[in-house]
């Protein structure tokens, strides 16, 4: 009986021991070790944390006041955490003890500090990190709450320090870690208030007036217009999962973050530690807030990140690009299969093969026009009126020019812009375009009616986008080119509907 009891006791002790050992293999709350945080500049993110215990992390962040490019030909004095906007990405783990060293470079003019939203304590660190130029402040904190947090400068006048670029992200990974993904990137939105208008060249000073009225000329991702387009676009391969750590420095605007042609499979709303929402099209990111979004890329192509407050994307710079490479999957996305003319309530009268530009039926004749006129859409009727006057006097360059303007405003303006300057690095300019100067009318016609894909160099800048074939008739095509040549290239060459017809025929 006694021996049995003893045996039971021994077993019990063994059980406890094995439990303790088991815990040692999993995560632990025991603080151990010390390391220097590896910081990265956007769009890059430090590697996943593989540690299973909290540690002491030393963060060295240097404040620099630097002159850098805000857009092509536009410079701005950025105040930065780490030399760039947004500030360096900091990655730590829940429970870590962070020893923060804030260095204010001796050549800086101003004192600065840092408020990390990941800190619980007065000012989020701002009260302990106020630093004169040429000095360093050290303070420490424990990151108790997992999530993606904004940090920013909070020195008076705080709005101006943020408006000049003093914000970044600190990720506190949960103890259990984040699910692995194939790609992680860092994207942060912020707006800039310049004395000059969008695109005005030279060094642009901060406009206090525009900041107070919250009317920025620039709304950008990662500190400048075009920071993530062309060669600098984010990269991924078909089938990969992508996680974006998205922040919004503000200082004023809320972002409606959207990736054109993608759906966020998962969203960690407002940068919290739980992915609460699936299948999201557009996620709201408050000023001084963040969001983590994840999605799998299924098909190749360019996917454009925008602030879906869309004038910011098209006119103020809030555009970035994710380039996905790999094999097509036509069952997920077919690409354009057919391009047909649509004539209102009439039966289909003609169509264009999008690959060849072949016209099955001549659409330049009066019969087409009358059929077109029976359409019900008001927009179509308006276009028709102009189109008819153009057709009637197709020999008159003046009226072709007017029709061309209408066509341009309906079909071209969204990408090439009203001033013909396009969008830097995304849509090529027509205004003073060396491409137009170097190439024949015929080639220009071909681009309009058959579209154009692939690399293109205009004014020493390389573009790699897609211009779809324009679903317009010979007269409209002739008109819009007449308009473009005269208005943007200063050449009164005129393009006739017959010339367009010839190109269509030759394009077969």
């Amino acid at each position: 009986m006694n021996t049995l009891n003893e045996l039971r006791n021994v077993l019990f002790v063994l059980m406890i021991l094995s439990l303790a050992v088991g815990c040692g293999h999993g995560t632990s709350d025991q603080m151990s070790g010390e390391e220097h945080a590896q910081l990265t500049q956007a769009p890059y993110v430090p590697p996943l944390i593989t540690r299973t215990h909290p540690t002491k992390v030393i963060v060295d962040l240097e404040v620099r006041e630097v002159v850098k490019q805000l857009a092509d030909g536009v410079e701005y004095v950025f105040w930065t955490f780490g030399g760039d906007v947004p500030g360096s990405f900091i990655r730590v783990r829940e429970g870590d003890f962070v020893e923060f060293h804030l260095h204010n470079h001796p050549l800086n003019k101003l004192p600065h500090n840092i408020d990390l939203h990941a800190v619980t304590g007065p000012g989020g660190g701002a009260t302990s990190s106020f630093t004169a130029p040429g000095h360093t402040s050290i303070f420490s904190f424990t990151v108790k709450n997992p999530g993606l947090y904004v940090y920013h400068c909070a020195t008076a006048p705080v709005g101006m320090h943020i408006a000049n670029g003093m914000y970044g992200l600190i990720l506190v990974e949960p103890k259990e870690g984040l699910p692995p993904v194939d790609r992680e990137y860092y994207v942060m939105q912020g707006e800039f208030y310049t004395e000059g208008n969008y695109g005005d060249s030279g060094l642009q000073p901060f406009s206090m007036q525009k900041a107070l009225t919250e009317t920025p000329d620039y709304v950008v991702f990662n500190g400048s217009v075009g920071s993530m387009v062309g060669d600098n676009s984010l990269k991924a391969n078909v089938g990969e999962s992508v996680r974006l750590y998205v922040g919004n420095g503000g200082p004023n605007l809320i972002s409606s973050f959207h990736v054109i042609g993608e759906i966020f499979d998962l969203v960690y709303n407002e940068g919290g530690s739980n992915a609460l929402q699936k299948n999201v099209q557009t996620t709201l990111i408050p000023a001084g807030g963040s969001s983590i979004v994840e999605f799998k890329v299924n098909v190749p192509g360019n996917f454009i990140m925008v602030d879906h407050s869309i004038f910011r994307a098209f006119n103020k710079g809030a555009l970035g690009m994710i380039t996905v490479k790999g094999a097509d999957d036509k069952t997920i996305y077919s690409g354009k299969q057919k391009d047909e003319l649509y004539s209102g309530n009439n039966s289909v009268s003609s169509s264009v093969n999008s690959n060849t530009g072949e016209l099955k039926k001549n659409n330049g004749n009066p019969e087409y026009v009358s059929k077109y006129s029976s359409g019900e859409s008001k927009v179509d009727e308006n276009l028709l009126k102009t189109a008819m006057s153009g057709s009637d006097k197709s020999s008159s360059p003046g009226s072709l020019f007017n029709l061309g303007q209408t066509v341009f405003n309906m079909s071209c303006v969204a990408c090439h812009q009203a001033d013909g300057k396009g969008i830097a690095n995304v849509f090529p300019p027509l205004a003073n375009s060396d491409w137009l100067a170097k190439h024949s009318k015929e080639e220009a016609i071909k681009n309009v009616i058959a579209g154009r894909t692939g690399e293109l160099t205009v004014n020493n800048k390389t573009y790699n986008g897609i211009m779809p074939p324009q679903n317009i008739d010979d007269t409209q095509a002739a008109a819009v080119l007449t308009y473009v040549y005269k208005k943007f290239a200063g050449k009164d060459v005129g393009v006739s509907p017959d010339e367009v017809k010839k190109v269509r025929a030759g394009n077969k």
Partner: protein
Amino acid sequence: MRKTKKNILFFLVLCINTLVAQSNKVNPTNNMVLISGGVYIPLYGEKNNDVKIKVSSFYIDKYPVTNAQFLEFVKGNPKWRRSNVKMLFADKNYLSHWENDLELGNNVLPNSPVTNISWFAAKAFCDYYGKRLPTVAEWELVAKASANHPDGSKDQNFIKQILEWYSKPMDEKIPSVGLYGKNYWGVYNMHGLVWEWTSDFFSSLVTGESRGDSGLERNLFCGSGSVNASDFKNYPAFMRFAFRSSLKANYTTNNLGFRCTKDFNKKGN
């Protein structure tokens, strides 16, 4: 009646001060400008803005103190030479842009404002010449004058120009004094060249946490409870206050210099 008494008392104090200060070696008002007194409203005052500081007339240096002038001073005052100064009175960057104790070197313009100067050093310089550092109130009173008006604080262009300088990183080489930036009083370079020390910089009432400074818990100005900025749109003033608040008296920085003031003696010196 009460006011008159006060004024008389005030002038008495002034005269005594001046008498004490008369023991200087050089004509104190050489290259100084007389500023008529006025009222200064601190950036951080009470909510109803009734905190006004009366500033009596005073002399202020026309230019910031230059490297050459400070060199003369350290020649006569060995304890303020770079290698002799105590860390308590100046940090390790004190005069670090100079070649050595008594030579400026090729990279320093003799006529550019002296920087990398601690508050103690600036104060010692002014004392030596029978002057003193300006108070924040005095400095701000002179600084608010635009080129053609004693009060440019509502002149948006004037504010814009100042803000532009504050926003820019430092010049590689600080230009000489007196080349530009002459204000209504005939004082040069109050803006656009270097920051300047004031005698009471430590009372500038900005903590590191700018947003808390307007909060109720800050007991900052003359013991009064709530603290609010008197002019939320005066960004340049905010920046100066923030800058002053980030300093300690032994700090030296690359872009911080000083100039001296002196009480006005009615006899006109």
